[in-house]
């Protein structure tokens, strides 16, 4: 197992090198060094000499591959530098933005897992009946509604009309969970359609297997079959789909956070888009890649925990 992890981490470093190459290329494509110099120099019309000085100071006169090496090592050391828009330290801001995002995403993630698995199991139990037919159709309807509508309608219905949750905003500390509930609920409901339908397919695939027939011949009830046999075998495909959700645990929900004024990484990114702040975007891209890779590695390791047949070589 340890050798497997080490091998994956080494491969991950290779991947991250290419990711930093991608950000390097995009960074240069987004603005030339002269533009960056002009933006950073406080003077209104900097002289060519001032620009040259600034470029030298910041190492933009070195050969390209040298610049790339510097760029890459900066990223690997997680030195993201300062924001293009307002000059604040990116890493610091990430530090303050991470806890709210983590809180919201964790509640949404586990809530969604609970709700979608339960609904999918229920639909699988009633397979072939009109509950199954209408349930699946409802899932298709729900996954055809754009997430924006869920957010807007969610805030309107639950915040304004029914006044269950605070409309927006965030206060750190004990009270934080209250502000996070509405975005979490919206996130869960918005993601229901596609996921429930997918999990239903996983469960139905398992229900047609031979071992289920054996269990039935033993006299096991349908509910017990679903919970104690099918669920465990469907765990691997379910885990695979949840792997994709792990990056959002760290990066936050872009739309949800900005709409509900949660000061997390999602709204940080949203502000960066609005102000065309490429330095922040670059940092988030790299961070996103790291979390994705770690996420997939953790998921692969978790396979061994649920299915004894899986061997990681």
């Amino acid at each position: 197992m340890l050798r497997y992890i080490i091998r994956r981490l080494l491969y991950a470093i290779l991947i991250l090198i290419s990711v930093s190459l991608v950000t390097f290329v995009l960074f240069y494509a987004s603005s030339s060094p002269h533009q960056i110099a002009r933006r950073n120099l406080s003077a209104k019309n900097p002289t060519p000499q001032q620009i040259e000085e600034w470029l030298q100071q910041h190492g933009y006169d070195k050969p390209r591959w040298q610049q790339f090496k510097d760029h890459m090592s900066q990223l690997f050391l997680l030195r993201f530098g300062k924001s293009d828009a307002n000059g604040e330290d990116i890493w610091e801001r990430i530090g303050t933005g991470a806890p709210p995002s983590l809180l919201l995403a964790t509640i949404a993630f586990f809530g969604a897992l609970l709700v979608t698995i339960s609904l999918a199991l229920a639909i699988a139990y009633f397979r072939g009946t009109y509950i199954d037919g209408w349930g699946t159709f409802l899932c298709v309807l729900m996954m055809s509604i754009v997430y924006l509508v869920y957010i807007i309608a969610g805030q309107f219905l639950l915040g304004k009309l029914l006044k269950i949750f605070p409309l927006a905003g965030y206060h750190a500390g004990i009270q934080a969970w209250k502000f996070v509930m509405l975005p979490a609920v919206v996130s869960i409901v918005g993601g229901l359609g596609a996921t429930v339908r997918l999990y239903r397919t996983f469960f139905l695939d398992e229900i047609n297997q031979d071992y289920v027939r054996t269990a039935r011949a033993k006299g096991v009830s349908e509910w017990a079959i679903l919970f104690r046999h099918v669920l465990k075998n469907a765990a691997i495909p379910i885990l695979t789909t949840t792997a994709a959700a792990i990056p959002t645990l760290f990066l936050g929900s872009l739309l949800g956070e900005s709409f509900f004024n949660i000061p997390g990484l999602g709204s940080y990114l949203r502000d960066a888009i609005d102000s065309q702040d490429f330095a922040v975007v670059r940092a988030m891209v790299f961070l996103g890649a790291i979390t994705t890779i770690i996420g997939y590695l953790l998921t692969d390791i978790s396979y061994t925990l649920v299915d004894p047949r899986v061997r990681l070589e």
């Binding site: 072939g128 297997q209 031979d210 071992y211 027939r213 054996t214 269990a215 039935r216 011949a217 033993k218 006299g219 096991v220 009830s221 017990a224 104690r228 046999h229 465990k232 075998n233 765990a235 649920v306 299915d307 004894p308 047949r309």
Partner: protein, 366 residues
């Protein structure tokens, strides 16, 4: 057909299982597939009945129908009665039927490789069989599981308890499945081609095991197979199925000595024999028709070498030939006027009525 009324008649034993006119159909794209179309047989206590036939004749579906495990939603039991110890199983509610499964009637299937849950230990699955019916739990169940594994002659049963199915070979898994089926000491064991997926050497071991366990427990076995050798070894009575119906029923020894129905005779004739060398293997011509379109009268007629005009127009009845033997064929129906003489020279000038060479070892002829 053996239907002996039990009430009011002393010294007559009610059959453990009595199937009457069972009909199991499937709704398919092009109509209704009549997989089991009027099957009737009885099974005594402590006895083994073999259900023999080609693939597609409906024998597996008959077995599944008894436990009402017919694949839904396409399949359904159209009618008939399945009397187990006198009670009609088809009248039971779903939860009542659940009490029967794995408890009074147990079933083992053909594919040991996939019939066990790969994510649970053997011990867990054995204990589940007992816990589901409230027979035992906890440590008691664990101990019983251990005993069961020892009974099916698995070495190192304590180790096997903790193992997962993928760590066992096919033969070992089939033993585990047998152990699971016997966990609650069922009165009837339905075995659907239990050895087809196994090596020949393992086959013999499993069959011996089953026979010994049957003697120990006094349990009945309904054995589904296409292998006549297994039939000879295991069964006291045989029912031959074709196209969803039973075409012949007889004690094994009698069937082997003198098969009546042309289909049965074809089955025996197609067995390779060391006495017929240098000659092409005999086969039954044609293929079994589709279950959605059975031939209107005799279903074997298109392939029967003894057919004649009436076979296409009048449906043959199941008639008792001698006590304990029934055949569904016009050749043995005295009421059919124009039947020709019994065909005794079927294949390659061979005397078809007798088996050549040694008599096979059967239940009735140890």
């Amino acid at each position: 057909m053996r239907s002996i009324p039990a009430c009011g008649v002393p010294n007559v034993v009610q059959p453990l299982l009595q199937v009457e006119d069972l009909r199991t159909y499937f709704s398919a794209l092009h109509g209704i597939a009549r997989a089991v179309d009027g099957v009737s047989f009885a099974l005594e206590q402590g006895e083994t009945l073999a259900l023999v036939g080609e693939s597609g004749c409906g024998k597996s579906m008959t077995a599944l129908s008894i436990l009402q495990l017919v694949p839904e939603p396409a399949g359904y039991i159209d009618g008939g009665r399945i009397l187990f110890e006198g009670k009609d199983l088809l009248d039971l509610t779903w939860s009542q039927m659940r009490q029967v499964r794995g408890n009074d009637i147990a079933m083992i299937f053909q594919e040991p490789m996939t019939s066990l849950n790969g994510t649970r230990t053997i011990g867990w699955q054995l204990v589940e069989a007992m816990e589901v019916h409230g027979k035992a739990s906890g440590n008691v169940a664990q101990q019983r599981a251990l005993d069961l594994l020892a009974r099916v002659r698995l070495e190192q049963p304590a180790l096997v308890l903790r193992q997962y199915p993928h760590e066992l070979s096919g033969g070992m898994r089939q033993r585990v499945l047998i152990a699971m089926a016997l966990a609650n000491e069922p009165k009837l064991l339905i075995a659907d081609e239990p050895t087809t997926a196994l090596d020949v050497t393992i086959q013999a071991q499993i069959l011996d095991l089953m026979r010994d366990l049957q003697h120990e427990l006094g349990m009945s076995i309904l054995l589904i197979t296409h292998d006549l050798g297994i039939v000879a070894k295991m069964a006291r009575h045989v029912a031959v199925m074709y196209a969803g119906q039973i075409v012949e029923y007889a004690p094994t020894l009698q069937l082997f000595q003198q098969p009546c129905h042309p289909y049965t005779r074809g089955l025996f004739a197609s067995l390779p024999s060391r006495h017929r060398r240098g000659v092409d293997l005999a086969t039954l011509e044609g293929v079994i028709p589709q279950a959605t379109h059975w031939p209107p009268a005799c279903r074997f007629e298109p392939r029967c070498p003894s057919r004649w005009g009436t076979c296409r127009t009048i449906t043959p009845r199941m008639l008792e030939q001698t006590p304990g033997r029934t055949v569904r064929c016009h050749l043995y129906d005295p009421t059919i006027a124009d039947r020709p003489g019994l065909d005794t020279s079927w294949h390659h000038g061979q005397d078809s009525g007798k088996t050549v060479g040694q008599r096979p070892q059967t239940e009735a002829n140890p």
